[in-house]
């Protein structure tokens, strides 16, 4: 079924993207502000593309995962169409908002 494949594909993608994310964002002294983010990475369109792809896969993985966790419960599975709809809406909303956020990191700062 498609959800299973979506989860595995996004899982493999996340191993790559999360590795990048941890390596470039999170190291001592662990302090970031708007300026450092823009100067170090997000003024470059390549980093914007990488971050948008990361956002896409992380939302896919989170929402398919939450859907599977919930529909594994027999009583909840009755509402699986509602849940699927909610996951799609939440995914689109999160993706638009997150992309807007990534695009908001613009020079000059």
């Amino acid at each position: 079924m498609r959800i299973f494949q979506m989860q595995r594909i996004s899982a493999i993608a996340l191993l790559v993207f999360l590795g990048i994310h941890m390596a470039v964002m999170h190291y001592p002294p662990w302090e970031i502000d708007f300026r450092t983010v823009v100067i170090e990475r997000l003024s470059s369109p390549i980093w914007k593309v990488i971050d948008i792809a990361f956002l896409f896969f992380v939302l896919m993985h989170a929402l398919t995962g939450a859907y599977v966790v919930l529909t594994d419960i027999q009583r909840v599975n009755t509402y699986k169409r509602v849940l699927a709809g909610a996951a799609i809406v939440l995914g689109i909303a999160g993706f638009i908002y997150g992309t807007a956020t990534i695009m908001a990191f613009q020079p000059p700062v």
Partner: protein, 116 residues
């Protein structure tokens, strides 16, 4: 409860997974403050980079590391015939996750102590 290493990994995977979904949406909202400009972003970030949040980030690293390496273990099970080694693979995933959590935890605590 039918207890086994598989059961423990399943419960931990689901628990960390649900926790990470909640964290993800909080994370998106926090970083989303950038849409209101640099000042709003820096003000929000000041709050979530406080010592309390740093300590909680160690738990976050643990959850991410466990979920990731348990996921790697599952991918290996899916694509290779290694079911005979299921117990040792669970312990290996757990050990690798613990290792990364320890490194992350030590780095965070060091930063807290020496850069504060």
């Amino acid at each position: 409860m039918y207890k086994s290493t598989g059961f423990i990994s399943f419960v931990l995977r689901r628990f960390t997974g649900v926790a990470l979904v909640l964290y993800l949406f909080m994370h998106i909202l926090v970083i989303g403050s950038a849409t209101q400009g640099a000042a709003a972003f820096d003000a929000t970030l000041k709050v979530v980079q406080g010592p309390l949040f740093k300590i909680m980030e160690i738990a976050l690293i643990a959850a991410v590391a466990y979920h990731a390496f348990d996921g790697v273990r599952l991918l290996i099970v899916h694509y290779f015939n290694v079911i005979d080694y299921r117990k040792s693979m669970f312990y290996a995933a757990f050990a690798v996750a613990a290792f990364f959590t320890a490194i992350g935890g030590v780095l965070i605590l060091q930063a807290l102590l020496y850069h504060a």
